[in-house]
Symmetry: C2
Subunit: 175 residues, 2 copies
């Protein structure tokens, strides 16, 4: 007697070392962990919902010369960022299908922690999965602003998945 599938929303972001379209170490880890430890062989009982929140650059000109930018340049930038976000999601969608679990994916723009909680309210998943940077080898301070905020504010159960110690880059910013 199986009811509706368990809908798991997974927040994914890009690597801060390699940039788009490469997923961050913690996003990959969160995704793979969910498949291995939760979904397992019961693929038809789960649906994965990938959310990527694109953070706009403050000035919108991170790697182009702002002085000569025209309105057309802005548009191209928007398009390029969207395309890169889609490529990022493609990785997870493809892997999900290979594993045999159904999924959906979408991009939103804004402050990740706010957008994730807003999307939880809108979509009402059964579970939200967020990767987080955990404790670096020389840190005693928790690095995980987004995950911490979601644990407190998201209106559904939240699972936080730290990286494995061997996955932690020397510089905690390099995720």
């Amino acid at each position: 007697m199986e009811s509706e599938p368990t809908r798991i929303m997974i927040a994914v972001n890009e690597s801060s070392i390699k940039g788009y379209p490469h997923p961050s170490i913690s996003s990959k880890r969160a995704f793979e962990w969910t498949l291995q430890k939760i979904v397992r062989s019961n693929t038809s009982a789960f649906k994965l919902l990938f959310l990527h929140v694109h953070v706009p650059d403050e000035d919108g000109f991170d790697d182009m010369d702002s002085i000569y930018a025209s309105p057309e340049d802005f548009k191209n930038l928007e398009r390029r960022d969207k395309a890169r976000g889609l490529q990022l999601l493609e990785h997870f969608v493809k892997s999900s299908h290979e594993f045999g679990v159904s999924c959906g994916a979408w991009i939103k723009k804004g402050d990740p922690k706010e957008v994730i909680c807003h999307e939880v309210k809108r979509i009402q998943p059964d579970l939200l999965v967020v990767g987080c940077r955990g404790l670096g080898p020389f840190q005693r301070v928790f690095v995980g602003t987004v995950s911490e905020f979601c644990v407190k504010h998201a209106e559904c159960p939240v699972i936080t998945i730290k990286r494995r110690p061997d996955e932690i880059p020397q510089d905690p910013v390099d995720d």
Copy 2:
């Protein structure tokens, strides 16, 4: 091709209204949610590990007259608390068996957040589930010291499960 079962540790405590052996609303909710949304029909793929941390009273005499207590009274108190903790766990063990999922259960004494993280280190579960009080109807402040500590410090993924709004008692202390 199934590997080892996913080992889910669930921290459970007693109701602060009804006391032992009644489980708290958030413990029951965490347990039932785990069965319904994670384990589902795939019962052989999971093993539940129930941990109850008994918090000793500061003076060891919460409901008896301390003046006339003998060393023998202390022993009886210890035994009685242990018996009540076991009865609490019995609820979860019985329900697990009815659901068809295998489980283990044990009691430790001490500060719940410290003991839970210590037991995670010792037992190495795949996932730790902690219920938490969430946001009360008139609160903006997160009530969940234990869960917050575990999210930060436990050496495994942690899922925090808030109560449903209709389960929140008027006084947030009554859990």
